[in-house]
Amino acid sequence: DPAIVYDMGGKFDKSFNEAAYRGLQKWKKDTGKPVLEFEIANETQREQALRRLAERGANPIIAVGFSQAGAVEKVAKEFPKVGFTIIDMVVKHPNVQSVLFKEHEGSFLVGVIAALTSKTGKVGFIGGMDIPLIRKFQCGYEQGVKYANPKAEIFVNMVGTTGAAWSDPARGGELARSHFARGADVIFAAAGGTGLGIYQAAKDAKKFAIGVDSNQNYLQPGTMLTSMVKRVEVSVYDALQAHKPGLQILGLKEDGVDYALDQYNEKVIAPEVKKKADEAKADIIAGKIKVADFMADPTCKY
């Protein structure tokens, strides 16, 4: 039976890991098969977990999060018969499936939505920590904003430099307030658990916030403008269904990323905004719009 190893955030981080968790739950329900799970508590456990699970005959083993790459690489060598899946990172090995998402494309879309929804022409971005993944979100988001409103102003803040940066809603709320005070009326949060504080602050200030990874619209209905969803649950589900080694890159085209529209936010997204967003989406898929990828070009020129 298969196994999954979550990243530090834990399977209930309301965003990335939780998406994987949902995919797993769905698969469990559909197939009724058991699945082994483990939450990392420290760096060493990554490798320990993968190895332990492999030894217990788990197959495939899904490692959620780029930080697991090193461990996967090592353990995959030791267990060539076991299939591994790593999400958000590439590990080149015959028995490893690597899943990447084009977060920049999804971020572009929510950027467009943010810019079009903003009345002040000022929008915010709050990232958990200043690391490449977050810059990738930021880069795509900025492009989207500028695409929809070249004169738009964007405030950027990173929460912190320690692990606590991903679980400090109080500070998140404070950062959000400072953006609002500067006139921003939409904030895109890519900060894990810290986001909850940001969404709350948006609600208190009657401004908009944009969720990340999972569809977080339900958290604060009415002030959650939308969420940049990363369909981790889908890829986890597929991986559990049929593990196929090799590289998968999921973007808008593959429906790997998207902006979320559901009963919680259909009222807050204006029809013309939705129209523009969908056009942009079509253009990106059609290749008419090229969204710069921070990973390809760290300067994020566009």
Binding site: G10, V156, T162, A170, E174, L175, A181, L219
Partner: protein, 316 residues
């Protein structure tokens, strides 16, 4: 424009400083009575959890506040039981409380709310809202937004600074408390109970920590999430030492920390003259760096209470 900036900086400084102030005062009380309190972080965290949990269950601010303070007081008493009644090491006890709080809150939250350690968000009815939201409209950005658009706990914290200094320096109990932190033998010889005084200090300390924790979930955000105190307890401890174990200087230190933090937030991504845009980390390091610099520049030797950290042994 600048008025608005000043106003928001001021407002944000106060909001950020409030939990630090409450914890620092708690620390002052405990350590002035001779009991080192490294457990501020843990008490604040557990209080936050208790407040959030009860708040969401009973939907009542009062209950939430009481629960927060109650739990923190219980932890203070445990600290007292270990260190005052049984002369355990005060530093270890504090560390232990921090670690227990860190783990146990998460365990209980997961077990009771099945949301991976988060508690359900509190309704606006439960949360502490600004007393006078329109303040900025009527009084202008600086005074209004900066000073008058806050929730009750912010003002309570400021009042408590006055309250604690009055208690310490103007009342009988305060006198005894300071004495027991300086020379417990003398207090004992004077026919007073050293442990009773220290328990009193710890009780008040618990209440203050409880308020700090409740503030995090009732005012700053709306739900508990694991480890949400994120080191504030240690910053408060630093502020207390920075303030030389005195309430008002401690307040100043907290405000300073709050201000530096707010400034740092503002400077992120801003192009500075000559320097250009500094890396985010440099800005984030600023508050800590400046604290050290100020400490080295202005503050001389800290004068800790003479009996701080020494368990009182009747012999000798």
């Amino acid at each position: 424009m600048d008025a608005i900036l000043a106003g928001t900086l001021l407002a944000s400084t106060l909001r950020v400083a409030t939990p630090l102030i409450l914890c620092a005062l708690a620390g002052v009380l405990a350590e002035r009575s001779g009991v080192i309190d490294l457990g501020l972080e843990g008490k604040m965290l557990f209080a936050a959890f208790a407040a959030a949990a009860t708040g969401s269950l009973f939907g009542s601010t009062v209950v939430a506040l009481l629960a927060g303070c109650g739990v923190a007081v219980l932890m203070s008493w445990l600290h007292g039981f270990a260190t005052v009644s049984h002369r355990g090491d005060q530093v270890v006890s504090g560390m232990a409380l921090n670690i227990i709080a860190y783990g146990l809150t998460a365990v209980l939250a997961i077990a009771w709310f099945q949301q991976g350690g988060q508690t359900p968000p509190l309704g606006d009815g439960v949360r502490l809202r600004p007393l006078w939201p329109e303040a900025s409209a009527t009084l202008g950005p600086v005074v209004g937004e900066g000073l008058f658009a806050h929730n009750a706990l912010v003002y309570v914290a400021l009042l408590l600074v006055a309250g604690v200094s009055f208690f310490l320096y103007r009342t009988r109990l305060g006198l005894r408390l300071r004495a027991v932190g300086e020379n417990p033998n003398m207090v004992d010889a004077a026919g007073l109970s050293v442990s009773r005084l220290r328990y009193l200090a710890l009780t008040l300390n618990g209440v203050l920590c409880g308020l700090a924790g409740a503030y995090l979930v009732l005012a700053q955000s709306a739900a508990f999430s694991p480890n949400m105190t994120a080191g504030r307890g240690y910053m408060a401890l630093a502020a207390m030492i920075f303030g030389r174990w005195k309430p008002v200087p401690a307040l100043a230190a907290c405000l300073l920390f709050g201000f530096l933090d707010t400034i740092a937030v503002r400077l992120q991504g801003v192009k500075l003259p000559h320097l250009g845009e500094l890396p985010v980390q440099a800005i984030q390091a600023l508050p800590y760096l400046l604290t050290v610099v100020l400490l080295a520049a202005f503050i001389g030797r800290n004068v800790a209470p003479a009996a701080l950290g020494r368990p009182y042994v009747k012999e000798h």
